[in-house]
Amino acid sequence: CLRRALLPALALSLALLGLVAAAGPRQTPVLELAEELWSAGLPGDLPELEPECRSLLAAFAEGSAALTGCLGRRARPVRLCQGCHGHYRRLLAQYSSIARAVGNSSESHNCAKSILTSDRLQIVVTLSEFFNETWEAANCANCLKNNSEGLSNSTEEFLDLFNKSLTCFEHNLQGQAIDLSPNNYTEVCKNCNETYTKLNDLYNHLQRMNRQGGESVHSAHLCIDVEDAMNITRKLWSRTFNCSLPCSDTVPVIAVSSFILFLPIVFYLSSFLHSKQKKRILILPKRIQSNANLVNIQEKYS
């Protein structure tokens, strides 16, 4: 809406500019012209930003480049929240300073307006939206402290345990030859079971806490770092090492279930054999006893 309101103004100012440019000497650079206009105190949008705004914009550009780099580098294994929260916080600050910044002159010249809303593309807004969305999708707020400075205690604890279990895995694998058959990881399973169980329990505990705390669908997830770490560990544990072998007790299950499934057969058979079949007593209707009905009915289909 705001953008739509601005478009005519933009068009008007561009037209004005073109008119002025056409009227001026051909070789005069636009920049000079602008400064000329500026000194003359002419109203309208200028091709160049105020210096304060320019520096704000530059800061935002650098911040977003740094954040993008950080996000890209930490995409796999996912370490977004741990590594990039500083960048993200800084970028947020820069964005809000742009949004809040008011230039030294009149209200129509503030930086927020000229940077954020004066064109169709609005690249700064788009960038900032993209970062915000990514951050929310990753649910990083979940593993940061409330003021988002640094990781929260539970996350630190979890990552500690995570690192411990990774080192445990490495440690125990080093002793074995590489070409061992994939099923023969018993050593790892035995030695790291304690750490792994702790890690798993902590994760489940965090998840439960989280579910109780938040109500909306989004907060049902933990932050992506924790989720991913747990995922990797679990995959290693149960897929690669094949450690979580549940006791499959097929025989008792089959016995119990076939017993239960057998019960209805007994029930129906016994009620068929022993229960007295319900009989209906026919009532003779009081009608004119002519055979006309039946004859009629039969006639139809003979």
Partner: protein, 760 residues
């Protein structure tokens, strides 16, 4: 042809004593011994009576109607609207109550079982988890079945057949009582929590109807409370209108489909319809869904959000991803054919099962045991399926309420468990909306197969539970399977989103089982919130109905028939033109004279062998040779009220009667008139006379003997009559046509067949 002598006999009958009447009958027609036969579908039960949809237009009624002026009529009209609003609100609240209780109890159960399974997966001993699950289910269902079997058997099943019968004009005993409502609501909660393959949507229709019938009367006979309001509506005609509004409100609360509810009432029930009634019913429906919506949104913590209009919410169908193209329409039609065949199979299996149940499992304790067994087996089947399934899906990014890991790797869940280890409503929504690839075809196939038999086995148990959701679930499962195989065949074309096919499958299956057309289309359309699906859903339902009708009839009609209810369809059987009223009617008729001896009336009413409800009143002529023409019709209930108040000619002459009887006295006794046995008439009083002319309906509908069956049928059905007197050209009573006389003709497989009457 009637001989003159038989005419004479009928003429005499009105004057002779009833004992002689029976005596005479026995001499003329040698009575066959009452023969016993096993229950079958070709019977009409004597248990069911008609409702009096036709106002008895006697003098009292006319006087009262004349007294009511224009303004008073307006008050009545406003009262009708108020009642409709109350019906909507209460139905919505009952739906909320059911929803919230089921959600919490089922959540508790699944958490307990899940914790148990998780514990035993690590340690071994899963058979204990199986036992725990089965026992939990069986015990919950036992309670649900106990209350239904021993307290109110009419609350069993979905209640839709019963409401259909009620709106058709059949009085099903206890069907709209408060006790039934309580048992129904508790029963539904218990059977859904008990993990049976049932839904809580169908019973909402019954609950809505009971609420409507209760409110519109302004009193509860069960609680013995009379609020002294809405006395004008204490008769069958008015009650019927409100019950149809209640049924609509129930549908609307169940599916969030107000228009569907109105059309349901139109399609399934109300044979008597006008524009104002429709508008009022629509009002009640809207209020009902709005109440449910606002209360549930408060309960879920997002006030003013209004995002849960019904008990089942199909979720949003995104039109971009789930849109359909014109090429898919033949595929949808094919799905309709499949749905029709599967629905017919379902009905045929259920038919045999129900027949067996009626014949052999009729004792309440056996019924409870059966329900418990079904519950235990349902749990066992679910457990075994989950146990055997090796279909694991990553837990991340999925919205599974109770993920069971079992033998899956850590961080994954068993995808069979999402289907079995969940309330059926949730499973349906999962099947519609889970992203492609959430289920593998093997899982879906096994699930469909198992659930089909479970649902078929469950319907007809002595628990209150509906068939809508299980049908939707079966259909959604095979529909999704169909969609997946389609995208295999077409090498993964973009348009083959399995969720869309799951929806069409669900519609096809439901249509194949219940055979509803118009209302079901609208209900599905409203539940999905997507109007563009209207066309394919309509095609699917149409095909399913056509294909299904080729094999067997719909589930509800089948159950109505198995209950031996004298149900009148829209039209007389097509080949019945050769039958005339003379062949259809019952004769001879027990008539009363206009001024009748009290003793005779009492004797006629207490005669158990002829439990008649309406008696033609003929001219009391001392001369038996003269013609005794028809003067009116009086109902058993009116006679009982007259006897109770001792409105005898002699007492009036002696000024013993304090006041004249008013219409109010008849209404106060409605709807449970005392039996004749409870009314004491002394020997002296037996000799008194009773004057019926003020109370009888002086203008009963009559037909001549030559009227054809379709003509009689049309008159009877369109006016909602209970008694239709057959007269000859001298206005003498020849016979009487009642509902059972008409309902016994049915178009069977071999043409027109005649049902026999039976004591049940």
């Amino acid at each position: 042809q009637l001989t003159p002598s038989s005419f004479l006999r009928i003429g005499q009958l009105s004057n002779v004593d009833l004992n002689e009447d029976i005596h005479e009958l026995e001499t003329e027609v040698p009575r066959q011994r009452p023969n016993e036969i096993p229950h079958n579908e070709k019977l009409l039960s004597l248990k069911y009576e008609s409702l009096d949809y036709d106002n008895s237009e006697n003098q009292l009624f006319l006087e009262e109607e004349r007294r009511i002026n224009h303004a008073a009529f307006r008050t009545v009209e406003i009262k009708r609207w108020v009642i409709c609003a109350m019906i909507g609100i209460l139905t919505g609240l009952v739906a909320c109550f059911i929803d919230i209780v089921v959600e919490n109890l089922a959540g508790l159960k699944y958490r307990v079982v899940k914790d148990n399974i998780d514990k035993f997966t690590a340690k071994g001993g899963l058979s204990f988890s199986l036992l725990l699950w089965a026992t939990l289910n069986a015990s919950v269902v036992m309670v649900g079945s106990l209350i239904v079997a021993f307290i109110e058997p009419v609350a069993a099943g979905s209640g839709i057949p019963q409401i259909k019968c009620y709106l058709n004009g059949v009085k099903i005993p206890h069907v709209v009582r408060l006790k039934t409502l309580v048992i129904k609501v508790c029963g539904v909660i218990l059977s859904v929590v008990g993990g049976l393959a049932v839904g809580k949507e169908g019973p909402m229709i019954h609950s809505g109807s009971v609420i409507a019938a209760g409110i519109s009367q302004g009193r509860s006979t069960s609680l013995k409370r009379d609020f002294k309001i809405f006395e004008y509506f204490r008769r069958d005609t008015e009650k019927r209108d409100f019950v149809s509004a209640g049924a609509a409100a129930g549908v609307s609360a169940a599916f969030g489909a107000p228009v569907g509810g109105v059309l349901f009432s139109l399609e399934e029930g109300a044979s008597f319809w006008n524009q104002f009634l429709t508008w009022r019913i629509f009002f009640a429906s809207m209020i009902s869904t709005f109440t449910l919506n606002s209360v549930l949104s408060v309960y879920h913590g997002n006030v003013w959000d209004l995002s849960s209009p019904g008990l089942i919410n199909f979720g949003r169908f995104d039109s971009e991803k789930m849109g359909y193209t014109i090429q898919e329409i033949p595929i949808f039609i094919f799905m309709g054919v499949v749905g029709g065949i599967l629905g017919a199979l379902f009905n045929a299996l259920n038919y045999w099962l129900t027949m067996f149940r009626i014949r052999y499992i009729h004792r309440p304790c056996l019924q409870v045991v059966e329900a418990m067994l079904v519950a235990a087996v349902t749990a066992t089947v679910g457990f075994v399926m989950i146990y055997c399934s090796r279909d694991c899906q990553p837990i991340q990014g999925s919205s599974v309420a109770y993920p069971l890991q079992l033998f899956c790797a850590d961080g994954e869940y068993n995808s069979m468990a999402t289907a079995f280890f969940n309330t059926p409503e949730k499973s349906v929504v999962n099947l519609f909306h889970d992203p492609p690839g959430s289920y593998n075809p093997m899982t879906l196939g096994m699930f469909t197969l198992m659930y089909f038999f479970l649902a078929c086995w469950t319907y007809g148990l002595t628990v209150s539970a509906g068939v809508f959701i299980p049908s939707l679930l079966i259909g959604a499962a095979w529909g999704r399977l169909f969609g997946i195989s389609l995208s295999y065949l077409t090498k993964g074309s973009i348009w083959a989103d399995p969720g869309k096919y799951a929806l069409m499958g669900a519609a096809a299956q439901l249509g194949g089982i219940v055979r509803m057309t118009l209302s079901l289309t609208v209900i599905m359309m409203e539940a999905t919130g997507n109007v563009t699906y209207g066309f394919p859903i309509m095609l699917v339902l149409m095909t399913a109905k056509i294909v299904g009708d080729y094999f067997v009839e719909g589930l509800y009609d089948m159950h109505i028939q198995l209950q031996s209810v004298p149900f009148l369809h829209w039209e007389a059987p097509v080949t019945s033109h050769s039958l005339t009223a003379r062949e259809v009617m019952s004769t001879p008729v027990t008539c009363l004279r206009r001024i009748e001896r009290v003793g005779t009336v009492v004797d006629i009413l207490s005669d158990t062998s002829s439990n008649h409800n309406g008696f033609p009143v003929v001219e009391s002529n001392p001369d038996t040779t003269q013609v005794a023409g028809l003067r009116g019709l009086i109902l058993r209930s009116q006679l009982i009220v007259l006897l109770k108040h001792k409105v005898f000619v002699e007492r009036a002459n002696l000024n013993l009667v304090q006041r004249r009887l008013k219409l109010k006295d008849f209404r106060d006794a409605y709807p449970r008139f005392p039996p004749i046995q409870s009314i004491h008439v002394s020997q002296d009083e037996r000799e008194c006379m009773i004057d019926l002319s003020e109370f009888m309906n002086p203008s009963p509908y009559t037909v001549p003997q030559e009227a054809s069956l379709p003509r009689v049928f049309k008159l009877f059905r369109a006016l909602g009559l209970r008694h239709l007197v057959v007269v000859d050209n001298r206005n003498e009573v020849v016979g009487m046509v009642t509902r059972k006389d008409l309902a016994r003709y049915r178009l069977g497989k071999e043409g027109l067949e005649e049902l026999s009457l039976a004591q049940t």
